[in-house]
Symmetry: C2
Subunit: 399 residues, 2 copies
């Protein structure tokens, strides 16, 4: 039987109140505290007090390079300290022996969806060696999963732009093909030319009318300088709200005073910061940034790939990790960690119609927890995930 | 039907080989690669290639103070920076409104057992305010669970020793009552008298013939100095292998050179180091310590209590956290993280008959994973836990 609308009864909202939620056409059409709103042609799902959360936002992942779910590929350290070029070469070898990319991307996507991600931003490698083939594969997989998750793709110059001839044209072509944003990679340490790199990135973004999301691992003041340059470009081009810096490790290295000044510049130019709360590396100060008005979002980043073996595709456990690494203990702090993987993520990605409000998309995660702080430390694996009002995953498996 | 012995067939050992394991009287009596060793009166369990691991060692927990499984108690920060005295007072308030201690201790124990812990060391608060009542409660609970998990208890002077009149006598009485080790707490920063504090701790330990496990949060060179003093006492009293320093944050603050010198002293005096790989704090360098021959073990420490809201009671996810925080990426490094929560833990706790060898106790965790590195990043929740050859938990629930 097909229903014209769905009604959740006794949904516990994050404020602890039980409400009924009516959905139709993939959107929330009504939220009420009243009695039974049931009518004919309506599917009724009694949530019996389970916690209703907005769908999670996986804001930074690499769908093309994970080995998750396939054969174990042992990590190999770089021969002489960390070297991105050597790592990219190792990745290329691994891609040749791993399962086909579409198979791997599906496994990773299903892992994320089953854990509650309803929105995702994935970087996809575009360079002279792979050309647009990875993007073509991931675009097809995106189409297959279009009813389960909304995916933004970033044309990611993993081998640099100026250092890798032809990449600028490929990135432009990638946008033409369907990528949603222009990526970048360490303009200073990789391409050795901050202005030259940003000229290409923002040139394509301006011409194509798309956003920007730049990988920036550069440490200390070099990282901060690059962030300032990115902010200036975002402001000059009127791209506030459409530019992100991923990782931004430098913000975790500098003094609180310098971090605060940079945070104010980020907030003023509407540039958001993505961190996955790495385990053994400095990372941006989440509270300081949020206090200054910066949108901080998060993602799994690599899941079991050539860069590291970790990752579970669960944005709730990512919220826990953000809290754990940031020293968040109070309810308010745990709620902030949750905000990073939900509403702040949606804001950073420019998502329309997000949240538990009338008119928003009916994307939800339902799980048993007292409230958000409890969910962030308890990490219940039993979850129901709804996309556009339809159940898409339950207890770790796609429907 | 009662069987005189149990046979696991097709158990995948950490080296990847399938073997049969025969158990009787709670011990491993035979390990073979041959065919079917089945005989009469023997229970046969086909593991069908699942990974057989030794039971996990939860080396540092607080059974008396967790709220896990009960009512949510919001964290409250100290009013003016971190203050142990204020925190202890907050804990006292919370204990008054939480469920009874035995109820809470059982919930925490069951969480740990269900995740695979077969050996545990718990600190239990002994001070002028609670006297020996917490210990009496936990001793009873230990007795209830004696067939499911082996528990060592440490008489823990949470309110200091010299600063809290009567505590020295209470700690001595605690050993008489059934506690297995003498604890301690920041001899310098808390009691303001390193020698005086250690005189009491090691005095009781020597007189009673028991081990020592001291909480040491003191930072930098003060922490290192205290470790040196503890090492000297351990050596002088011939207590090598029976003394542990928990947390030892100072080792994570000092130069690699100083850490190395201290590691050599720790190894020489047989003093082990416990770390839970905290999220927002420096912690001991695990590889450096292990390379020097120091036994590094781990524990959940607090699980959802007055000190912080985190913790899941899962020593496999603790191994992941140790690896994540230490930057462990290779198979060898992930195996080292696993060793910390298993064999190294058993060594630190002085456990006889540990491991997957003939004659050892038949304590196991069985789960689906390719090998140990895979298990440490995959963290399968579906597990069977065996204690003394008997199934005690499956898939998160006690049998």
């Amino acid at each position: 039987m097909t229903f014209s609308q769905t009604l959740f009864t006794r949904a516990k909202f994050p404020d602890g109140k039980l409400r009924n939620v009516t959905m139709s056409g993939g959107r929330i059409t009504a939220i009420s505290t009243g009695g039974n709103d049931a009518g004919d042609g309506q599917e009724i799902i009694d949530l019996a007090g389970a916690l209703l959360l907005p769908g999670f936002v996986e804001g930074h992942i690499h769908l093309d390079t994970s080995f998750y779910g396939g054969k174990w590929i042992s990590h190999k350290p770089c021969t002489n300290g960390f070297d991105v070029h050597e790592r990219v070469a190792f990745q290329r070898q691994n891609m040749a022996i791993a399962e086909p990319m579409d198979v791997r991307a599906r496994k990773q996507l299903e892992l994320c969806i089953a854990h509650g991600a309803t929105i995702m931003r994935s970087h996809v490698m575009v360079d002279a060696s792979v050309g647009l083939t990875s993007l073509e594969t991931i675009l097809k997989v995106r189409e297959e999963y279009r009813n389960l998750i909304d995916i933004q793709l970033v044309a990611f110059p993993q081998s640099g732009i100026l250092k890798s001839p032809g990449t600028a044209d490929l990135m432009d072509a990638a946008i033409g093909l369907g990528a949603d944003l222009v990526g970048g990679l360490d303009p200073a340490s990789f391409d050795r030319d901050v202005e030259g790199h940003l000229n290409v990135v923002f040139g394509i973004a301006e011409r194509r009318g798309v956003g920007v999301d730049i990988h920036l691992h550069d440490a200390g003041t070099l990282g901060v300088f690059t962030i300032e340059q990115i902010c200036d470009r975002a402001s000059a081009l009127g791209m506030q709200g459409r530019v992100a810096v991923s990782h931004a490790y430098g913000l975790g290295d500098v003094s609180a005073d310098m971090a605060k000044r940079t945070a104010e510049k980020l907030a003023g130019s509407g540039v958001s910061i993505m961190t996955n709360a790495p385990g053994a590396h400095s990372f941006p100060p989440v509270v300081l940034l949020r206090s200054a008005g910066v949108t901080v979002f998060s993602g799994s980043d690599n899941i079991r790939d050539s860069w590291w073996p970790y990752g579970d595709g669960d944005m709730l456990s990512r919220a826990m990790m953000i809290g754990y690494r940031s020293g968040f203990y109070t309810d308010e702090e745990l709620e902030a960690a949750f905000d990073v993987v939900t509403a702040a993520g949606a804001k950073a990605l420019g998502i329309e119609g997000y949240g538990l409000v009338e008119g928003a998309k009916a994307d939800f995660v339902v799980l048993e927890a007292e409230h958000i702080p409890h969910a962030v430390v308890e990490l219940p694996k039993q979850r129901s995930v709804y996309k556009g009002g339809k159940l898409v995953a339950r207890d770790g498996n796609l429907i």
